[in-house]
Symmetry: C2
Subunit: 148 residues, 2 copies
DNA sequence: TTATTCTCTATCACCTGAGTAGAGATTAAA
DNA sequence: TTTAATCTCTACTCAGGTGATAGAGAATAA
C-alpha cells in the first residue's frame, strides 16, 4: 500500500503544479485545499525540498513552488523518495537491490522471478508518467481507466 | 512490500508443488527445508487450507498436500489472500474497491488514475502466473529476468 | 492405547506510520 | 528597526500491525 505520506506528497505536488509558476503557495493553503494535516505536510514538503522537487521561500510572501516543470516530475521518483523501492521484495528491486536474508538460491527463486516482472511493469508506468500527464486536463474529461 | 507471511506461504506452496502428489508433507519438513519458523507456518498453512489451496491430513502419516494442481494456483490469489488487495490504494482496487475517505473527486483523481494502471499491470502478471509457470524447471535453467 | 500430526486461541514484543508540539531561523514590509 | 508572516527543525506520542511464540485440544494410524 501507498502510505498516506506519499499520497499527501503527490497531492501537494499536483496542487503546486496547477498554481501560477513562480508564485509561492502557502503550506496552509495546500493543507486546507488538499485536506492534509498541516504540521504533517510541513515535514513532507521539507522532504520534497531536500530531494529537489520543490523550492521554498521564507518570510512574508513566502511559500512553495515546484522546482521543476510538471512534465519532469515522475510518480516513480516521488514514491521511491517517500516510501522506498517500488519492488515488493528487496531482491526484486533495481534501484535498491538487497539480497533476501533467508534466500536459499536467488538464481532459481520463483518468487523473485515473478516479483521482478511486476516491478518492471510498475516502474515502466510510474517512471514514465509525470504530473503533467495526469493533471486535470478539464473537469469533465473522459476517464481513461475502466469503470469501477 | 510483500509480507514475510506471504513469502512463507509461497515458499510452502512451491515446496508442496514439488513433492509427490498425494504424499502428505509434514509441517516440520516444510519449515526446516524452507527456513520458516514452524509455529508461524502452522498458522499460514491453516489459512491456506481455509482458502482451499491445500489439504491437510491429521494423525500419523498426516501432513499437507496441494488441493489443486500447481498450474491452477496463481500468485495473485495467494498474495490477495494473505496480504490483501494488490492495488496500492483501496480506490484503485478491482477486487476490493473502497473509496478513499479523504478523496475530493475520484473521477478526476490523478493519483488513482496512475495507480489503477499499475494495479492492472501487476494483476495481469500475478493472475496469469501459476506456481507451475515458475517452478524450478531444472537447476541450471536460464534466468528469465535481466541481470542484477 | 499411544505416538504422531494437525488445529486453534491467546499472548507478546517490537517497529512503523501518522500525526502533534513547540521553539528557532529568515525575510518582507511597515 | 521592529513586527508579523513563513518556513525549518528536533523531539515526542500513540495506535496498530507484523512476526512471531506457547500450549492445550482434536483426530488418526498403527
Amino acid at each position: 500500500m501507498l502510505s498516506q505520506k506519499a499520497k499527501y506528497a503527490m497531492r501537494a505536488l499536483l496542487y503546486l503544479a496547477q498554481a501560477e509558476p513562480d508564485q509561492p503557495v502557502l503550506i496552509g493553503d495546500i493543507a486546507e485545499r488538499q485536506q492534509v494535516p498541516r504540521k504533517f505536510l510541513e515535514l513532507i514538503l521539507l522532504e520534497l525540498k531536500r530531494h529537489g522537487l520543490v523550492r521554498s521561500y521564507r518570510g512574508k510572501n513566502g511559500g512553495y513552488t515546484l522546482a521543476r516543470r510538471a512534465d519532469e516530475i515522475f510518480f516513480g521518483h516521488v514514491i521511491r523518495m517517500i516510501d522506498g523501492p517500488l519492488a515488493q521484495l528487496p531482491c526484486a528491486s533495481k534501484t535498491a537491490y538487497r539480497r533476501c536474508e533467508d534466500c536459499q538460491d536467488e538464481a532459481t527463486c520463483a518468487i523473485r522471478k515473478v516479483l521482478r516482472q511486476v516491478r518492471d511493469a510498475s516502474s515502466h508506468i510510474l517512471d514514465h508518467t509525470s504530473l503533467a500527464d495526469v493533471m486535470n486536463q478539464r473537469p469533465t474529461g473522459l476517464d481513461l481507466g475502466a469503470g469501477i
